[in-house]
């Protein structure tokens, strides 16, 4: 049913001024409603992929196209402004985009509710746990009502329990909102659990060396992680990762 690609890369290459090649010949297309995860060893240029997609960095060669203006970017760190409380942090993006005060207050309140932070509106970031900070960060992006979400290892710094809970929350949002997503991680389990498609990246220079459809239907339950089918797919992704790395 989806016709226009939410994001497409053709022959994207990124060469830094010092001569290192971070990405080489990356072709990639994400359809609307698709959740694509990129797994790869650290330092393989995964984050560069997102920076190019969002326009923060220009590609050295090739083209990247984004099919929508509403792009959410969730960073590795929560990047909350420490002097703003949760409510004011979540309002930041619509504030920067010039949304009237009243409207952005209600938009932010809805997003805060959606990530389960209701009651913490007045808390400053330092009073929040790592997981709650990430929820606030997620809520901040949700205020844009994104059609495309870019996630840069958002849960990488969290403990496993919090991470799995946030995975479930994210899937719930994905099912409810139907955005397209490009999710970067170095966890194979997380990749398979979340996505409709897993891409495997090689070590530097990063290339896409594996492309796996994930057949499991949504909504997914945590038990899915312990089914043989899940294990088998995760095993194949893992093997491909090892191959690309050597």
């Amino acid at each position: 049913m989806p016709t226009t690609a939410a994001l497409s890369f053709t022959g994207v290459e990124k060469r830094f001024p010092d001569g290192t090649v971070a990405l080489r010949d990356v072709d990639l297309s994400i359809a609307a409603g698709e959740f694509v995860t990129v797994v790869g060893p650290s330092g393989c240029g995964k984050s560069t992929l997102l920076r190019i997609a969002s326009g923060l960095t220009a590609a050295s060669a090739g083209t990247s196209e984004v099919g929508t203006k509403r792009v959410g970017y969730v960073f590795q760190d929560a990047t909350l402004l420490p002097w703003r409380n949760v409510q004011a942090n979540v309002e930041l993006l619509s504030e920067l985009d010039g949304m009237p005060k009243q409207q952005r207050t209600s938009v932010a309140a809805a997003a805060i509710d959606l990530v389960g932070l209701k009651g913490f509106e007045k808390h400053l970031p330092r009073a929040l746990s790592g997981g709650m900070k990430m929820r606030a960060s997620l809520a901040r992006s949700l205020t844009l009502d994104p059609e495309l979400f870019l996630f840069d290892e958002p849960f990488g710094a969290l403990d496993e329990i919090t991470r799995e809970r946030l995975n479930d929350e994210l899937l719930r949002l994905f099912v409810a909102k139907g955005f397209a997503a490009l999710f970067i991680t170095h966890s194979v389990n997380e990749a398979v659990y979340l996505s409709t498609r897993v891409l495997v990246m090689s070590g530097r220079p990063g290339r896409i060396v594996g492309d796996y459809e994930v057949p499991f239907a949504y909504p997914r339950e945590p038990e899915l992680r312990f089914t043989p089918e899940f294990g088998e797919l995760a095993g194949r992704v893992s093997a491909s990762l090892r191959e690309g790395h050597s």
């Binding site: 969002s54 923060l56 990047t79």
Partner: protein, 314 residues
């Protein structure tokens, strides 16, 4: 004999000059400034009295020891004729300096004058320093062209310039203010600049993604992020502005209203040692109060969110 001694050590410029150099170079960046707001942050209800005692007792003991040492030197180490000139005992200082009406009025008048000079000097230094730092943060070339001179400003012994400033500006209020500004400008520039430039890259990206203008970025991201560093600089500069006001005054001496510095010079020349000590105590107290005041203001402004400026959960 001993009078001779005093007048020969009376070359205050070299003395204060060294002290000043120590003060100025002692705290080059925000990292060097320590925050000790233990007494400022509210303690937990049960252990509060105890914590209060623990916070006050050690410095209190040192204070008592210091007073003891003072009397020891005064009465045991010095002959009676030296005593009055070198280290008059504390109670005499208090009696003559503070409990004599005329002397007290003279001292407080000087204090007021010095405070005004320091205040106006600090105000100008803050405005100039913030503006310079903001300009530097906005364009690399501004930073590259100005920063070396900010460092030079920090390195030249301002004291050497003080007589010249007096010549140019007629030894009055404005000359004193200029000395103040020169002495207290640098910490504000460096700390503010450091603060403005130490915004997290991720937060910068966020603003870039939403096409934030320079102004928006400055007011909503850089400046708030810089506030803790700004207050660190303010606190150092506030102390220095008092130093500047006293030093300028000490040099110029002339002028319609004598400040504490002029009084110090006057008492020194007339060997009014009790009053001299009283004046020194008062000017030190001014420096301490100003330092504390800005620490307090900083705590009020950023203490709620800036982690290192208050002890977590205590």
């Amino acid at each position: 004999m001993s009078v001779q001694d005093v007048t020969s050590t009376e070359k205050e410029p070299t003395l204060t000059g060294k002290e000043l150099a120590v003060v100025v170079t002692g705290e080059p960046g925000p990292a060097a400034a320590t925050d000790e707001p233990a007494a400022v942050t509210a303690g937990g209800a049960p252990g509060r009295g105890k914590a209060f005692l623990a916070a006050l007792l050690p410095p209190g003991l040192v204070f008592v020891a210091f007073i003891g040492l003072w009397y020891l030197v005064s009465y045991e180490l010095l002959d009676p004729d030296q005593r009055e000139i070198l280290v008059p005992p504390l109670h005499e200082v208090l009696q003559v300096g503070f409990f004599n009406h005329d002397n007290l009025v003279e001292l407080l008048g000087g204090l007021w004058q010095t405070t005004m000079v320091a205040f106006v000097g600090l105000l100008i230094a803050v405005a100039l320093g913030l503006a310079t730092a903001v300009a530097m943060s906005q364009a690399r070339w501004v930073e590259r062209s100005l920063f070396p001179y900010a460092v030079v400003l920090q390195c030249i012994p301002i004291l050497a310039l003080v007589p010249l400033i007096g010549f140019w500006l007629d030894f009055g209020f404005s000359a004193r203010v200029v000395v103040c500004v020169l002495i207290s400008l640098f910490p504000i520039i460096t700390n503010t600049l450091f603060g403005l430039q130490s915004v997290e890259p991720g937060q910068q990206d966020l603003f870039t993604l939403h096409g934030a203008s320079r102004w928006t970025r400055l007011t909503k991201l850089q400046f708030p992020a810089a506030l803790p560093a700004v207050f660190t600089g303010l606190r150092i500069s506030a102390g220095l502005s008092v130093v500047g006001a006293v030093v300028g005054d000490l040099f110029f001496k002339q002028g319609e209203n004598p400040g504490i510095g002029s009084l110090i010079g006057l008492y020194l020349n007339r060997l009014l040692q009790q009053q001299l000590f009283a004046a020194i105590i008062l000017s030190s107290a001014l420096g301490v109060v100003v330092f504390w005041l800005f620490g307090f203001l900083g705590q009020r402004a950023v203490g709620s969110w800036h982690v290192t400026s208050s002890r977590d959960g205590r």
